[in-house]
């Protein structure tokens, strides 16, 4: 998990209360914008893109979403991670008629898509790792999550 670890920081890991996918996305986007990783228009771009191309994924360990937007809104590449107190429905990436109850969101702020293959591959291996996701859900704080991802290396 070396690449994700480089792009995550404790400030980008959050426990969230949200009642809708748009509220969850907005709060995460606000964090990335406030921390200087994206320009303010990033939030609107994410919300718009999620409607047109939803990012909900049903994996064996539950529902995950990987919202992202065009790289022109990104100042510095980053990954933000949110664990939701209660899951919220996201539309499924491959079937917009369906929804999936999502409680872990990995927001990808991609700056150079061609250089971020390793990061993307780690995100995918992470969402397929049921035991890691369970540990993330149970982690007490951001530091514990960082340590879990370190241990994966």
């Amino acid at each position: 998990m070396g690449e994700i670890r480089k792009l995550l920081s404790e400030k980008l890991i959050m426990r969230l209360q949200a009642t809708s996918h748009s509220e969850a996305i907005s709060k995460m986007a606000d964090c990335l914008i406030q921390e200087g990783y994206a320009i303010p228009a990033y939030k609107e771009a994410l919300l718009k893109r999620e409607l047109e191309f939803p990012t909900g994924l049903q994996v064996p360990a539950g529902g995950i979403a990987i919202p992202h937007a065009d790289s022109k809104f990104v100042l510095h590449e980053a990954v933000a991670l949110a664990i939701l107190a209660e899951p919220v429905p996201f539309q499924c990436m491959d079937d917009h008629e369906k929804t999936v109850e999502v409680d872990i969101i990995m927001m990808l702020a991609i700056k150079h898509p061609e250089k971020q293959l390793a990061t993307l591959q780690e995100v995918i291996s992470m969402i397929q790792d049921a035991s890691l996701l369970e540990k993330l859900r149970n982690a007490k704080n951001a530091l514990e999550i960082m340590n879990l991802l370190n241990r994966k290396e």
């Binding site: 047109e52 994924l57 064996p60 065009d70 491959d94 990808l108 991609i110």
Partner: protein, 91 residues
């Protein structure tokens, strides 16, 4: 040689993963094909030269070429079936 369009919403994130998986799959099966990564919006302009569409997203319309959903390459669920389906179209 056949041409495969690999498409996702933005053409930058999940399609990158699918392209990498596809390259390995083709190499393992000694199949040569052109892989073109694009966004869903780009399919229209490229589909005339394509033999297969592999995508993580829902397409906006039905195209004349066969389409394989590759969501399993992201979730890990049903991956073998997806790979078989892709290989079948490339025979």
């Amino acid at each position: 040689m056949k041409t495969i369009l690999v498409a996702c919403g933005s053409g930058i994130a999940t399609s990158t993963i699918i392209c990498e998986n596809l390259k390995t799959l083709l190499a393992d099966n000694r199949i040569k094909a052109d892989i073109i990564q694009c966004s869903i919006g780009d399919i229209e302009g490229r589909v005339d030269n394509a033999d297969l569409i592999v995508t993580s997203s829902q397409l906006k319309k039905q195209y004349r070429v066969p389409t394989v959903s590759a969501i399993s390459l992201l979730t890990g669920v049903g991956r073998d079936d997806t790979e078989k389906a892709i290989l079948e179209y490339l025979k």
